[in-house]
Symmetry: C2
Subunit: 238 residues, 2 copies
DNA sequence: GAAGCTATTGGACTCTGATTCAATAGCTCC
DNA sequence: GGAGCTATTGAATCAGAGTCCAATAGCTTC
């Protein structure tokens, strides 16, 4: 295509290729994407791809990893906030950034979990998310199988909600989904705690269920800015 | 492989091939499975596969469809129960049948949503599920975008919970997950109704949140057997 | 147990698309 | 502006999906 051969720095080229990979694999499935297609889309020769990646598969996996990485950078946790608030802001940012990173999300949501390597990447990503969800629960919360399963199940609903938001033409808003998901997480964790005595629910959360969770959390941390609260970083919402 | 050639009725053979397909594609990904591999695993020649299916892809799609179909047969709704109870029994059966249909579940959970055709099958399946979830909500519930999004998001958590149960070595039980999910659905729908006035929540559900939902629903319909209640089929839980 | 029907086989072929590698040519530094 | 380094190319190769079909052999029926 581009008859002019341009010589780039290795890192730059690699990033460029991977970004194109994220975009391509978000739109078309594995079989539909050919090495030549990738090369053409990148304005680069077939051979170059093989110089950077061992093959189509490695390129694909690297693209998935890049997508995960891009989304992670976007949602760096505010370590100064209490865990519950970290989770909420993370969720808000996640939904706020959906259009901007639609490709990365589409790729990750569309990935085949049947593929071991790719599934492992996605699983690691989910696990990090689950840890954040459970960070708000001191005591045995994090280590109880039911608590973990509950957190992961809830993450499934966050993913589905993401799909909805990407697919919807604005007839559902990010704010609505955040509120619904927050409510549903609190209810799920309370239900889990009722079933498994080893799960300790922080006292603040206990009184939260039943509406206005988002507002309650927001209020709890804006009344009390993180900088002014010693050791606040690790405290759950009071 | 099997040197003995066995001649079967067309329908029987087709089913046999598809069942093998569900099993194969549940364990290995699309690329890992070759036509010859499929044939060998089925104890059948390459040529026969092409006699029954136009190619690898058609075989794959048909396998996915078969998986969906198998799971549907298992969870036939009890039309005599009120919608809420239908949903609950459906959920219970779904989890109860997980081991038995682990292959079909694994296949469906592992399928690449990036593949249009396959994604459509899965989407249709989810949609049927979503309709059942919303069936308990009279009025505008079913047609509100937020209500639908909420239902689909919750279905995402059911799928994730299914993954958990398949992966767990029995340290989480189906009953626990059903309880957690039920609680979380009610909370989510109530939250959605609070945000969107057009969503009407049946009065019975309103008082349900906060523990013991499963018990409440079970009690509500066992006190009052469906056969004895005229028109009961369409009534929500009182 | 012979005939007929058709499910089943397997090998030879084509074709698409992944992979390899020796040759080519930007870029930088002197 | 020439030398050297290495990013980049594209023709050659290879693997396996997809195709075709004449030969084979279960099952049924008489």
């Amino acid at each position: 295509m581009a008859s002019v051969r341009t010589r780039l720095d290795v890192d730059v080229r690699r990033e460029q290729l991977l970004d194109a990979g994220v975009e391509l694999f978000a739109r078309r499935s594995w079989e539909e994407v050919s090495i030549d297609g990738i090369a053409a889309a990148c304005g680069v020769s077939r051979g170059l791809l093989y110089h950077y990646f061992k093959g189509k598969r490695e390129f694909y996996v690297a693209s998935v990893e890049r997508a995960v990485q891009r989304l992670h950078e976007e949602i760096e946790p505010e370590l100064t906030l209490p865990p519950t608030a970290q989770l909420l802001t993370g969720l808000q940012r996640h939904f706020a950034g959906i259009e901007q990173h639609a490709d990365a999300h589409t790729l990750l949501l569309g990935v085949a979990a049947a593929d071991e390597e790719v599934a492992a990447i996605v699983a690691r990503d989910r696990e990090a998310f689950a840890q954040r969800v459970l960070a708000g629960m001191p005591g045995a919360g994090g280590s109880s199988p039911l608590a973990r399963a509950t957190a992961r199940a809830w993450i499934g609903s966050v993913e589905a909600a993401t799909r909805e938001l990407i697919a919807s033409d604005g007839d559902v808003t990010a704010e609505q989904l955040v509120a619904v998901l927050a409510e549903s997480l609190v209810a799920a964790l309370l239900a889990a705690a009722r079933l498994d005595a080893s799960i300790e629910v922080p006292p603040g959360i206990d009184g939260l269920a039943g509406g206005g969770i988002v507002e309650a959390i927001v209020a709890s941390w804006s009344d009390d800015p993180p900088g002014e609260r010693p050791g606040g970083a690790e405290q759950p919402v009071p």
